[in-house]
């Protein structure tokens, strides 16, 4: 994707997005609701024409030759796009035939995918009775019927219960291990962290950061130490004990029993802190070292949390 712009009325949904995914890589497109993730996917899958810029799949321009692009992609949208009155096998069959694959090939590929996505037992049941997780798996299987060179997964776990979400993660990890090129969008930082080797953070239609999950986390520095004590009157003693052990300013909360400070993460910090506080006669309730999450990264990059954005939209 090169300088892609897409406007809807007055809103610039995509405001010059550049994005390049190498073959065989799993990229995560991360951003809050309304950031432009789905619009990006819709441009790349020929569902929307960009107003400016070019997008190519396998070197083919999506605007110039959408038909050739459609032969090379698989799309799993935000809704499990399955025909719920047909069986799983029939769903795979009708999509395969719309790819103009020979019938025998469709049948063989359907068997293979049903097996792989753990749907073999349910293959000849009508999809209506399927769970959310089964529908999503079938949806992905349908996208893979013609062995696409790029698979687009638009929020593949939105609306799934935690167990199905974990199952879906396993499926995506397997795809990645097989060398399928995947572009997945998500608003769950945890999900991008776990699945994507490279994360592209987008907000208000622009790419605001790009890097591996570790690189992004490093941007906001190391770990933080949190300590909770029992009695507020020990506040000062606790702070003076903690200061030499930490890498920066020790901040206390309003209750005067909670403290946090940046530390150079390493072994032995926690026992050292507990010993020092104990020696100083401070009654420690809890000590925790928190490594930065992608939520922290997002907060640093955009100045707000993902949750706040969701509430606002």
């Amino acid at each position: 994707m090169d300088g892609i712009v897409k406007t809807f009325g007055d809103t610039r949904a995509l405001d010059g997005v550049d994005l390049a995914v190498p073959r065989g890589a799993v990229y995560g497109l991360l951003g809050p609701n309304g950031a432009g993730k789905t619009t990006s996917v819709r441009v790349l899958t020929t569902l929307l024409r960009p107003d400016a810029g070019t997008a190519r799949i396998d070197g083919i321009d999506v605007a110039a030759d959408p038909h050739a692009v459609r032969q090379r992609i698989g799309l799993t949208g935000q809704y499990a796009a399955v025909e719920e009155r047909l069986t799983a096998r029939e769903n795979l069959g009708f999509v395969g035939r719309l790819f103009h694959l020979p019938r025998a090939r469709v049948a063989a590929r359907a068997d293979e995918l049903l097996e792989r996505f753990d749907l073999a037992d349910a293959a000849d049941r009508v999809v209506k009775g399927f769970s959310g997780g089964m529908r999503r798996r079938l949806d992905i299987a349908m996208s893979l019927i013609a062995e696409p060179s790029v698979l687009f997964l638009d929020e593949p776990t939105t609306g799934l219960d935690p167990r199905s979400r974990l199952g879906m993660w396993d499926v995506i990890e397997e795809l990645a291990a097989d060398g399928t090129t995947v572009l997945l969008t998500t608003q769950y930082l945890e999900e991008a962290d776990r699945l994507a080797e490279q994360i592209v953070v987008i907000d208000h239609g622009r790419v605001i950061a790009e890097g591996s999950p570790d690189e992004l986390k490093q941007r906001i520095g190391g770990a933080r130490l949190s300590v909770r004590i029992a009695r507020p009157e020990n506040q000062e003693r606790a702070m003076s004990t903690l200061t030499p052990l930490c890498a920066g300013e020790v901040v206390s909360d309003d209750a005067r029993t909670g403290f946090s400070a940046p530390i150079i993460a390493g072994d032995g910090v926690v026992p050292g802190v507990i010993r020092a506080l104990d020696d100083a006669g401070v009654d420690v309730l809890d000590v925790e070292v928190r490594r930065p999450s992608l939520d922290d990264v997002f907060l640093v990059l955009t100045g707000r949390t993902t949750d706040a954005e969701e509430d606002a939209s």
């Binding site: 799309l75 796009a81 029939e90 035939r97 790819f99």
Partner: protein, 258 residues
């Protein structure tokens, strides 16, 4: 493969998707047949005794072609509802991302709805014959009359397709698809003689394409002279298909599941 072969192949795959479902939903099929039979019975037994149509000894012979036409026209609403449903579920997005013929999604849908409509029609003819309706115009004319009715219903499927692709939900497609069919079918010659309507309404009924279609079918079923009505009915159907298929294709390429 050339474009036409793609269109035919893909349309058939799409039609098959819908046709496979029909025998699995026996309930729907039963209720879809009960409604026209009920209409038939209500008009024949409730209004039949009170309505006299000049030129017809028997109201049944006048009425039944009207009911046939109305039933087929109402059946066209399935097209819009089905498309709105595909749209809402994200299936249209999936289909639009496939290397298939764009028009095939709607062509396949209208064809499967046509098959379903034909089934209802056959059920109705059987009931009509049992009640006492007779094709007095002969087999060729009866086939011609049926073809005209089916073609008109198929044309309206394309109108419904545009509606289904323009509204945002299945519920909206349902009401938007049915509401205009009441004036279309009742302000016409289907059930009564338009010459008894108020002066301002009569020209509306006379110009209504549904009147032309019903009049032609009625004349053919009863062995009466058809005149130019049949040609006008044919022209209307073809015109509607041309205009609305263009609109539907345009709508389809812009439609989204959002």
């Amino acid at each position: 493969m050339n474009r036409l072969r793609w269109l035919l192949h893909d349309s058939w795959v799409e039609a098959e998707r819908h046709l496979r479902i029909i025998p699995r939903n026996v309930e729907l099929l039963i209720f879809a047949s009960i409604q026209p039979i009920m209409f038939l019975a209500i008009f024949v037994y409730v209004f039949g005794g009170s309505i006299v149509i000049p030129g017809f000894d028997n109201y049944d012979q006048f009425l039944m072609p009207g009911i046939f036409a109305q039933t087929l026209v109402f059946g066209s609403a399935f097209t819009g509802i089905g498309l709105a449903d595909d749209l809402q579920k994200g299936l249209v997005d999936r289909l639009r991302s496939l290397p298939m013929s764009r028009s095939a999604v709607i062509v396949g849908r209208t064809i499967s709805d046509l098959v379903r409509n034909l089934f209802t029609f056959v059920v109705m003819i059987v009931v009509a014959l049992a009640i006492g309706f007779r094709f007095t115009g002969g087999a060729v004319d009866a086939i011609a009359a049926t073809a005209l009715l089916v073609l008109f219903s198929y044309a309206l499927s394309w109108v419904q397709a545009v509606i289904g692709l323009s509204v945002s939900s299945v519920e909206a497609a349902n009401s938007a698809g049915f509401i205009w069919m009441f004036p279309l079918t009742f302000v016409s010659s289907a059930f009564v003689d338009p010459s008894n309507m108020p002066g301002w309404l009569r020209p509306v009924a006379d110009a209504n394409p549904f009147t032309l279609v019903t009049n032609s079918a009625r004349a053919l079923y009863n062995g009466n002279p058809v005149g130019t009505d049949a040609w006008w009915a044919l022209a209307w159907s073809i015109g509607i298909i041309v205009v609305f298929s263009t609109m539907a294709a345009r709508r389809f390429s812009r439609s989204t599941a959002g």
